[in-house]
Subunit: 395 residues, 2 copies
């Protein structure tokens, strides 16, 4: 079966949510966050200033509130029978007023569980709070939804594993095209185009109903080229590759909404001794992190192990970011592999593992691999070569 | 001079913000929204769960709070001398605690103006409110910032005009490659690749420091093909073009962060009588809207004129969305050309104009043009042909 989220799994998720609101004596659930709604319903939509809102009553009855123009689309794609609409945002009557009426009709009143007390301020949206339009006491249950999302199912992990395949294709092409004299834009556009068309042709019709708005293979550098690679969050500058450059790549390829993350440090031409030294320390730190992740330990334990490696090797001054983060329907999710996050690691969690070294004037050194936590360790979903020889571009 | 935002303009913007907080007897300003920060500083950065926060005291002293790994990047690109850092998110000490300390040191205490009472919940971010970490009374000034952003300067309009040129190139290529038997993905990837590389080559080095993370020319259909074009917010399905399909395109091309919006309805092969009728009504409704926009009228007046046209021509059942929205640093901004938005239209506002007709089973009909309001009317920044003959694809 092609990777994707089955209706049975969606039903299971909603049952867990339903049990939760019942256990807290709430009279229903309201979700405003687009990832939460996608998680609960499978419905993929454009998240804009026009709210799309999910509601579930204590008998498990479901409803969506969408702008009128989304009615047919939402009915077709969500499988939810009750799709109610408001005219427009802002409209003559605010969407939140319609929501209040819909919730009253569903019996979702008095005590409501919600992922936020209103719709977030996306694209200049403004509006009243949920408590205000319903007069209800709002119990925030967003953290519960995030905790559910943190434990991936077999279907979710299969989707991320499939994504990794296409990240690999994008990365292989990116590496092949990143030659001295070529620009960042040329290498990226060519790799993304070829990998995206191959992915669409290979996965074909089964992918159609699962695509997001701008899905495909992403493969590029986001400006992390030469000395700019020392900026972990550089932005694209369309630099030209030159002999001696350190490159830090990034790739992604959503499958049914889930993406792996695959990043590699590469060098154009033979690495200098300093580049080699930093590269090997980065690779060793990543190995430390990969060994550190297993059920029963905490996220902070893993980051602490990496920091200890950096301290012992006098590299702390080059530290830049925590070890990694969860990944799934969002590119970054909680929990974080961070000394401040004491969440216990559990089977089914999926993390990026990407400790890096950042040296102003020299460059950045970071691989990112995506791993799924198993009952006694990890399954590394991304398998692109990690060694310097494989990652040296002829210069 | 190449389109972009000058330091002088950034200073003017900050002076207006400063005057505003002084006039409201506030002891300083805090901005959390990434578009607001870019507007006030010119700094382009990845907006993630790691807060980037801008502060300004009543003497005009400026500061940025960024994660430690962004220090060099922020200093280089923002031109702000005081760049303070927190270790990481979540970190052993929450970024908001660092913010509280920084604000106290800047004398931004007691009464603070802010665009929100805390950092938004981007990518699973969680944290305390601004009022909580400062003990200050928070006055929300986000609407004031949005109102400033709604009136575009000459520099901003020049950037959007430049963007329109590259939207046109993307659209021309998209139309050329959208032939029967070709897939949505093939046409879009080819048009975007060629247009993006041309844009990067043409604008060259001047663009480098102004690029966002994934900038380039976007040109595609987002699934709005054949009967799916009736879904105004369809998502990509990688459909194959067939004779008789109605297509609704969308293009964009950020220049210094500002993008025009250019969309066209096209037909593959000779249009049927019904397609012609709907196309011509859509084009007529757009002409009504273009004539309706001028200073002194309200946004709702414009939408009302379009609705009147639909009513008089018995088309109300095919109405789907309001007439348009402001556009600038964000793809959608307030105010909205909507019957519920009574904002007065003023010179310098930039709107999309895109009344549409959506017929289940037949398709969607919508052109979108981007216009700047002048002192007595509009300047239409997108000039791609609007007539059916020009928009008929050989089939």
């Amino acid at each position: 079966m092609f990777p994707g989220i089955s209706d049975a799994e969606l039903e299971t998720r909603r049952q867990v949510l339903l049990d939760h609101i019942r256990s807290r004596n709430l009279n229903g659930l309201v979700l405003f966050d687009s990832s939460h709604i996608r998680y609960a319903t499978g419905f993929t939509f454009l998240s804009t200033e026009r709210p799309v809102i999910f509601a579930m009553g204590t008998t498990g009855d479901l409803a969506l509130l969408v702008p009128a123009f989304e009615r047919s689309h939402a009915s077709l794609k969500s499988g939810i029978e009750r799709v109610e609409t408001y005219a427009e945002y802002p409209g003559e009557m605010h969407p939140m007023i319609f929501l209040g009426e819909m919730l009253a009709d569903l019996g979702i009143v008095g005590r409501i569980g919600a992922d936020a007390d209103g719709y977030p301020g996306i694209l200049s949206y403004r509006g009243p709070a949920l408590g205000e339009v319903t007069g209800a006491a709002i119990t925030l249950v967003g953290d519960f939804v995030e905790e559910m999302m943190a434990i991936k199912s077999r279907e979710e992990i299969a989707a991320i594993r499939e994504s990794a395949t296409w990240c690999h294709l994008g990365h292989r092409l990116l590496q092949r095209y990143s030659l001295p004299g070529i620009t960042e834009g040329q290498a990226s556009v060519r790799a993304e185009s070829e990998a995206t068309l191959a992915m669409l042709d290979a996965l074909g019709a089964v992918l159609e109903s699962r695509l997001g708005s701008s899905d495909g293979v992403k493969a590029g550098y986001r400006g992390q080229i030469g000395r700019y690679s020392a900026f972990a969050h550089a932005v694209t500058g369309n630099h030209t590759f030159r002999r001696g450059d350190v490159l830090v790549s990034e790739t992604g390829a959503p499958v049914a909404g889930y993406s792996a993350e695959l990043e590699r440090t590469m060098v154009v031409g033979a690495a200098t001794d300093e580049q080699k030294r930093l590269f090997e320390h980065m690779a060793a730190a990543q190995a430390v992190a990969l060994r550190a992740i297993r059920p029963g330990r905490t996220c902070s334990d893993v980051d602490r192990d990496v920091l200890t490696y950096f301290e012992e090797n006098h590299l702390t001054q080059y530290w830049g970011q925590h070890t990694g983060h969860a990944i799934g329907l969002r590119d970054h999710e909680a929990p974080f592999l961070d000394v401040g996050d004491h969440t216990e690691i559990k089977p089914g969690m999926v993390f990026t593992v990407e400790p890096g070294l950042y040296v102003d004037g020299v460059g950045g050194f970071r691989h990112s691999d995506t791993v799924a936590v198993t009952k006694d360790g990890i399954d590394v979903l991304t398998y692109y070569p990690r060694d310097l020889e494989s990652l040296t571009i002829p210069g």
